[in-house]
């Protein structure tokens, strides 16, 4: 059980809350103290749209501890419309083959099930194909 950490990250994980750099207007995710684009201080909260495209992906059959219930799963780097890249699982992909460039959108799903750690269930962002 790791309540403090998950409570702390809830905002980012539920809603893709990052930052906008007040100096160079870069959009930043994950949030941090220093803008990776201009090196100045960044603190303005920014809500991402949750829209993006697959930048790279793979699928895992051997899942690590806590993720076995969702295995096999696809994990990806998703390039958000606003610029940053996010690491996340893909979900609801059905039989559609995943491709680099495929448009995706954020949804909230169960991330892990800490069977070993007193049954805590953690929710967070995943991405699914945009229905066209």
């Amino acid at each position: 059980m790791e309540t403090p950490r998950h409570w702390r990250l809830k905002k980012q994980r539920y809603a893709l809350v990052g930052e906008e750099c007040p100096h160079c207007k870069a959009k930043i995710f994950p949030p941090r103290d220093v803008c990776p684009e201009c090196g100045l201080e960044a603190k303005t909260v920014y809500h991402f749209s949750g829209k993006g495209e697959v930048y790279s992906y793979t699928s895992l059959t051997d899942a690590p501890a806590g993720f076995q219930a969702s295995a096999p799963y696809a994990i990806a780097l998703v390039k958000l419309e606003e610029g940053p890249i996010v690491t996340a699982q893909l979900t609801d992909i059905g039989n559609e083959p995943v491709k680099i460039g495929m448009p995706v959108e954020m949804v909230t799903r169960k991330l892990r099930d800490d069977g070993d750690e007193r049954g805590m269930i953690i929710y967070g962002y995943k991405f699914r194909p945009v229905l066209s």
Partner: protein, 373 residues
């Protein structure tokens, strides 16, 4: 005292054990065994410091403060000691710490040790533990693993250059076949049939495209050139260059996924320190915890052009078999590269220069050394 620049660090002794699944041996025993072997090889000088490169002891062996544990077990009570951790570059980090320490003049005789013990726990737990070197809050907590990171890089690489996964075959088979000549390696050769029949574990990468996690330890004794002369060492190996550079830990935080800034910076800085260029390097040992990491190291280090890192390099690379062929005791692998290179240079004609590079995380930390005989 004032140390002159020409009074550079040199290696005067080494100890190494084959990489393997050392069920019957503890982290402490593995470490002290090679420390004592290295000291014996160096004719037992009085030791001032022991720097321990290790990445996973805290988690896999429930053991911190390896410095006090291993130095006592090696019969070195009272020396200086601490652990150096930089994921896969931990062993190389301990070597660099030893070089810096003797160069400072504050330490005369230093031992660099790399040691890792995966077989304390079942394989699945070891794989999970290995993900410690990812960003927990934004990578491993999403279900990311080391193999998945390598696969994401490989997938993007193939798409970007419009290549198929067949490009990896030659690189991997060469590694396993080089390992056949390395007595410290776990694996001894690979044929096309076996490679092609491997299961895909993280598309586009298969079972043999990522190095096996295993146990191992290697150590070196490092002093200044003047100390080696005073000790009567006949032919020390010179550390001409040394550099450590980091890049953002997470793949998603990098501006360009396929260009490894840490590798480029670390390579250039080590060459600059050695007053050498790549043209002066006779052979290299580069990082290959997965095949794509070797491809990107070759490109970012400047040995092959972008998009061509899978082609045959213009100089001998990883004749040891690398992590793929040797097996990968992560925090110790950097010391395997260095100790094997020292031993090889001792048997070569004088005037050879070798570039040795370990990478921690997936391109996050690169530590480069240039050794000469």
């Amino acid at each position: 005292m004032a140390i002159t620049a020409s009074d550079e660090p040199v290696v005067i002794g080494t100890g190494i054990v084959p990489v393997r699944e050392a069920w019957e041996t503890s982290l402490r025993d593995l470490g002290s065994h090679v420390v004592r072997a290295a000291l014996k090889d160096a004719s037992n000088p009085k030791v001032d410091a022991l720097y321990v490169g290790n990445a996973y002891g805290n988690v896999l062996s429930h053991q911190a403060n390896l410095g006090a544990l291993i130095s006592e077990h090696s019969g070195l009570c009272g020396v200086e000691s601490h652990t150096v951790e930089a994921a896969g570059a931990s062993g190389a980090g301990a070597f660099r710490a030893a070089c810096i320490a003797v160069q400072s003049g504050w330490v005369d005789v230093a031992i660099a040790l790399g040691v890792e013990k995966f077989t304390e726990v079942p394989g699945s737990e070891a794989e999970s533990a290995a993900a410690l070197t990812l960003n927990y809050e934004y990578e491993s907590s999403q279900g990311m693993t080391l193999q998945a990171q390598a696969a994401l890089l490989a997938q993007r690489y193939l798409a970007h250059w419009n290549l198929s996964r067949d490009i990896f075959e030659g690189v991997v088979i060469a590694a396993y076949n080089h390992a056949a000549d390395n007595p410290n390696a776990m694996f001894h050769g690979m044929d096309e049939k076996r490679y092609r029949n491997q299961p895909i574990i993280a598309d586009p990468l298969g079972l043999y495209d990522t190095a096996f996690l295993a146990d191992g330890a290697a150590a070196a004794v490092i002093v200044r050139k003047s100390t080696a002369q005073a000790l009567g060492v006949a032919s020390p190996i010179f550390v001409r260059g040394s550099a450590n550079a980091v890049a953002p830990l997470s793949l998603h935080d990098r501006h360009d996924l396929l260009s490894w800034d840490a590798v480029r910076k670390s390579t250039l800085a080590a060459l600059h320190k050695a007053h050498l260029s790549l043209a002066d390097i006779d052979w290299l040992e580069l990082w290959d915890a997965s095949v794509i990491e070797l491809v990107l190291s070759l490109e970012s280090g400047g040995l092959l052009e972008a998009g061509k890192g899978w082609q045959s390099p213009p100089k001998p690379v990883n004749q040891s078999g690398g992590c793929l062929g040797r097996g990968n005791p992560v925090g110790a692998s950097g010391m395997y590269q260095l100790v094997e290179s020292v031993n090889r240079l001792q048997n070569e004609d004088a005037g050879r220069n070798a570039l040795i590079q370990a990478v921690g995380g997936c391109g996050a930390t690169a530590i480069t050394h240039i050794l000469s005989n």
